[in-house]
Subunit: 460 residues, 4 copies
Amino acid sequence: MVSGFAGGMSEVFSPRRRLECLLAFEAALARALARAGVTTTDAAAVVVASCAVDAIDVARIERDAVSAGNEAIPLIEQLRGLVARTDRTAANVVHYGATSQDAIDTALMLQLRDAIALFDRDVGRLASALADLAIAEADTPMAARTWMQHAIPTTFGFKVAGWLDGIVRAHSRIRALCDGAIALQFGGAAGTLAALGPLGPDVARSLSDELGLPLPVIAWHATRDRVGEVATTLGLLSATLGKIARDLSLLMQTEVDEVREPSALAGSGRSGRSSTMPQKRNPVRCAAILSAAVRMPGLVAAALAEMVQEHERALGGWQAEWATIPQICELAFDALEHTTVVVAGLEVNRDRMAANLEMTHGLLFAEAVTFALAAAIGRQAAADVTTRSIRRATEEGRHLRDVLVDDDEVCRHLSPASIDGLFDPRRYLGVAARAARQVADSAILEIGSDRARLSAVTRR
Amino acid sequence: MVSGFAGGMSEVFSPRRRLECLLAFEAALARALARAGVTTTDAAAVVVASCAVDAIDVARIERDAVSAGNEAIPLIEQLRGLVARTDRTAANVVHYGATSQDAIDTALMLQLRDAIALFDRDVGRLASALADLAIAEADTPMAARTWMQHAIPTTFGFKVAGWLDGIVRAHSRIRALCDGAIALQFGGAAGTLAALGPLGPDVARSLSDELGLPLPVIAWHATRDRVGEVATTLGLLSATLGKIARDLSLLMQTEVDEVREPSALAGSGRSGRSSTMPQKRNPVRCAAILSAAVRMPGLVAAALAEMVQEHERALGGWQAEWATIPQICELAFDALEHTTVVVAGLEVNRDRMAANLEMTHGLLFAEAVTFALAAAIGRQAAADVTTRSIRRATEEGRHLRDVLVDDDEVCRHLSPASIDGLFDPRRYLGVAARAARQVADSAILEIGSDRARLSAVTRR
Amino acid sequence: MVSGFAGGMSEVFSPRRRLECLLAFEAALARALARAGVTTTDAAAVVVASCAVDAIDVARIERDAVSAGNEAIPLIEQLRGLVARTDRTAANVVHYGATSQDAIDTALMLQLRDAIALFDRDVGRLASALADLAIAEADTPMAARTWMQHAIPTTFGFKVAGWLDGIVRAHSRIRALCDGAIALQFGGAAGTLAALGPLGPDVARSLSDELGLPLPVIAWHATRDRVGEVATTLGLLSATLGKIARDLSLLMQTEVDEVREPSALAGSGRSGRSSTMPQKRNPVRCAAILSAAVRMPGLVAAALAEMVQEHERALGGWQAEWATIPQICELAFDALEHTTVVVAGLEVNRDRMAANLEMTHGLLFAEAVTFALAAAIGRQAAADVTTRSIRRATEEGRHLRDVLVDDDEVCRHLSPASIDGLFDPRRYLGVAARAARQVADSAILEIGSDRARLSAVTRR
Amino acid sequence: MVSGFAGGMSEVFSPRRRLECLLAFEAALARALARAGVTTTDAAAVVVASCAVDAIDVARIERDAVSAGNEAIPLIEQLRGLVARTDRTAANVVHYGATSQDAIDTALMLQLRDAIALFDRDVGRLASALADLAIAEADTPMAARTWMQHAIPTTFGFKVAGWLDGIVRAHSRIRALCDGAIALQFGGAAGTLAALGPLGPDVARSLSDELGLPLPVIAWHATRDRVGEVATTLGLLSATLGKIARDLSLLMQTEVDEVREPSALAGSGRSGRSSTMPQKRNPVRCAAILSAAVRMPGLVAAALAEMVQEHERALGGWQAEWATIPQICELAFDALEHTTVVVAGLEVNRDRMAANLEMTHGLLFAEAVTFALAAAIGRQAAADVTTRSIRRATEEGRHLRDVLVDDDEVCRHLSPASIDGLFDPRRYLGVAARAARQVADSAILEIGSDRARLSAVTRR
């Protein structure tokens, strides 16, 4: 309903594109058959020339696919008819030696190759945006929240670096798909290439060349972990994006108000606005990302369940992939695009971050107090003093600092100035700023350096 | 990809129909506001007249929905514009007192009411088809299979009655949805109807009347179990259909060959045929049903996860419903339609069922032998004799009957004629035939009698 | 890891209890066989006397179950041995005419009957606690939040009534399980009762009497929707509880601080406290409830997937139920108990609710302003004025009220006093208080009235 | 219920082992603190000496964990008490600078490291067993089945090689977990190590050394893709095993009978036997593997849903991992062990495979006929002849060979001898045998060569 961004990805998995990929398989097969000497170059050329989606009666394919059990069978039938009009003999070459699953699975792989390239590019973009944000906010103090309660100070850049860290690994996993998951499927009726006799392996090799798809050591018609791994990899990505959106949406709450989604698309000016409550700025993109994160686990579960396929061609599991895998790709991509827009245009309210650090009247610094005292009186005694002081501060409605300054035992070990220093968030940030920069720098390095290699793999 | 049957259901959930339902809400609201005296009948009439989907710029809605966060906001904006062209004041009435979630949730309920009516009708049809089959085959002996191994004889009608039994309960659950799950959603920004002041309840009551949707005791904007229950109910249906298709596909295996899917759609003549292996008749409908059964659990999981919605309007869970719920309806309906076609046109091969009963040379009747002997020598001694005889029959490649006739101990207790009788499947069917007829009869009774009540509930 | 409450439910599904239920089946079967005249009362008495879990070598059962494929087979073997020690002939009676699935499925039903009784009781308790809270807080104003942003005022009681509304329906669904889902399973090897000859139905009826379990019209060994419905019903409950916990945990955030989980178990005093951050009070029970809500959809998905069972006894799906169903019951019950404790002991901070209503300097009342103006100048003109005023209030850092009082157009239609009144949350609550009380009252009524009926159904 | 094999894995995730790993973290932390100069070697030694699970009151931990929210808090409290008995000051060192999540997450990583080592070893074993089987049966003809219908001949070794192909990739994925997924978690309250001041990074490095766990670039307390990837990797494994078991169980059907599970555990002799149907040999191990495959997708869905964790420590998602991840490991391992036993001891019935090839009276060779004719008359004309001949063969109940020999058109192109040859399955196997051997050989090579590297990574 509300996607808007899946543009690139919906095209990859559009019905038209699917037919194009099926035809790409048939065209490449004709060429491969000619290269292997199974047919003539002329006959192959006629087939190749007929593999144009515009010549296909798409409505008829959808209708006939119901009884045929898949789209490839009626498509091939139409293609044969088209070829026969030009050259009756060449029609014999169409789909020669292949089974419909070869066409369908290979077409899926062509689509997935494009999908992975889009993911690679755009997860890279998100990583860049996160790296920029992590560096820009590396030193911005904010409250860290555990169990959704204020814990101690951290920096916003450190928080962002935690998100980035997950995205960097998501990126590696997506790139690894190019090596492991993408492969030609070509085996004939049962994977043995029996119909092509001794020429089977030659045709397979040529077909792999034609399509630029790796030739697997054995046909994988009923061994579906390649497809499953695409699903799980995008499932991990989607969950990682969901965590970012969950955090952002919590930070956007009226009571917290530390960040805001960028407002609206250019020219619209009404993004996430309610008509009777114009004060609201709804996190509509976060909602879309979280919506994807909520739906995705079930889709990945389906993808895994689909892998249990019967014998040499399955009955249910294989057919179920046709809907599940494109949906997973589109949904994850939609979430990815929204996240990138949000991160790249995020409005950060540093003042509010600072103000929120103060809202508990010093209680956020309890751990800092404990560890400062621990150096003098031991950790446990220190914890007792802190607990006592917090109780007093809470009961008397005073700032923890003031309670400590009044406490004789505390003053025996800490000077008023050093007590004061304990309540400066900048002094209790540990490795936050450094780690934020480090994660960002290494992300930029990694994503850049691998880019060349990948584009080679995914080029057509 | 290969659906073909979701006809009726895809229309219920088509983008156009969704807009129609949103407009139906807005029109009914205008009328209800007039009935409650919030506005004039004339102003309401202008709004109602403008609520026509053909006047809407659908592409613009899809585009604007991205930044608005849902389709209702841009639709209402367009509607206001359309009304204002006729009557500037009447534009004030559009959507008055409502929130976009009221429109979206109520529109979903209008769609679900139609969906449930289709399910009610067609699950009823399937039940009839199964009842007919159960009666027709009540006495047809076949092998019962446990752990996918021949166990003892049963009848095909009894097996079908087991399927029917599950479908009858699926039917009751679907009908129960009319009472529990379908309801008007109308509460304004936070469910309190505050914008309408003291007239809120009046408007709500009128709106409920206008749309023929039950008025709930409290707005359910963030209490989503109604929607969740639709999902789980269809999940149970889909799994029940999956069991039928699993059994059928096992019975259709080349080696078993006891039933066949009806061949093809009229005129097509190639249903499930492979082009190079014309001997095959692929169970393409069973594949579609099993495909639904494999995908559905993940979709239901998503529907349940979506129910955890934040405060008075959620961020992720609500939006996720928009894709999940229609998909569940369409997928379950697709499986239902395929199952009905398969059951209604099933080709039953009684000869093969009889032949398969014989294929283990009497071993299928081992239990019958044991219990016949048990009457004389006790169950355990009988089990020992049977085990011993089976071993002999297997080792010597003989029929179990012949081994028993040769066994002195056996012959002491059973005459040759009674031994022979043990291997007549018709004598070891227990309650099979009677239960098959009983289940079928009561199904016909139940599904018929409730029909009047339901049609009253679901009429618009 | 952190459950603590599943006490009652873990006992229902303890390994020992499972064996007890299996033995209860075997004992009841012996009695039923005697009643039907298949065996003598004396022989049955010996079997019944031997059905004591303490006499069983549990470790051996677990070991032998691996190769036997289930626990019933080795248990019955042991039971036969025990009976034989007393009366060699009576050993023949053990498990006579039954299959191991009869014992296992019926034992599960005995456990589920107990589980449902516990759920019925405790969902009722939760409903009472929610009803009390809804009534107590019916008039307490708080901010309603949509998209996790302040929207308009509501009351806390109204919010609680929304939770209660879902729990009341969860309660009905659980009660309905007693009628539809609970049933005896008894059919012998393939459901036909063939081994018992003409006495089969008599034995079945007696067995149903003995165990107090409804006798189904047909054996359901491979028709698993009864079991599936238990899973989906508890899945819906768990999600409904998750919504409550999600809301509560959002309200418990440091920045919101409107409610708190009751502190600690009696005597512990450290519930949810961090050792170095003693100021924190972690919502540990909400975490447990949300943890259940996160895990449950996947478990329900498994339960649905398990329903696709092969022929007369499945290979995978049936065995998977043994782990899934108890887990679902225990997890849902754990969440239920935690929710009840939290609701019953919730600390409500009305002052903070009031303060939070004020935190946006009047913006929360934007809708009230719009609708007040709308009466005079029409809804759209009113919306424009509000939007303009909000912008000014935000830019100038002033309260919206003050901006409105300064606005000539506004003052033309609204007196200063009536402007002031718009910012009183108590005047913009719509049906909140009334609906809260109504939901609570009818919940108390419904849950009370059904109690008698249910206890009759679930008594043993 | 019926596991029996999870031996090793259940120990890895036993409650006792979990406490041991938590204590291992605390001991290593004490040592690391001493190495970094935060405390003395003596104090650390006292802590280390106290980190013995036998000194812990386990029941009290389980009780207190309910209110504390996790097991680490009460464990650390007890540990402090134990240390204090020996050396009051040393008690200050316990858990110094760490948060309970550091202990819990790192303990999980120690368990996962062991789990991965077991998986690596045993997936390797399964691969070996499959490779042996693929080689042994490389030339054994059997029917390939698509849509669960006979398609063309293949070899059993080729089928096995298809399974192995998936297992080899599962193996690589599991090994990759050592590099990517396993890491120390150490960050203190919010990941910043603030409590340790400038010494934080030193302590972290030492702790990483002590435990032999890689030091991540940033704490991952709320970035859970490492844990999620373990889940998805095992989900892929489990589905791959499920495919093997599905195929095996189909091949074990009474009507097919081409393979059998190895019978029973040594000494038991009753594996999978029914007491009244001793002829049956139930595929109990396949049932266990399929049961795991049915349950696993839902568990992986849960693991993905759990990754959406709030801020610096989650509320629900994190706690849910504690149950989900061990369950996934145990379930996948259980399935793995069963599969290995089945594959290693599989009884292959080559005679039955050969007989089943013949059961369709030549129809299985339809594709061979078509392609033989295609060389002469073109593929389409050939397909027509085949279809016509099949119809005749079916109608007249004759062998397809005989029909062809009678067909003048066929005889014009094919000699009787060459027609005969078309029905020899050995002549229509394509690459089957070669590919089977190739996959097996390369599997043996790959799994062997990586073994050294891995054992280095996973050693403790």
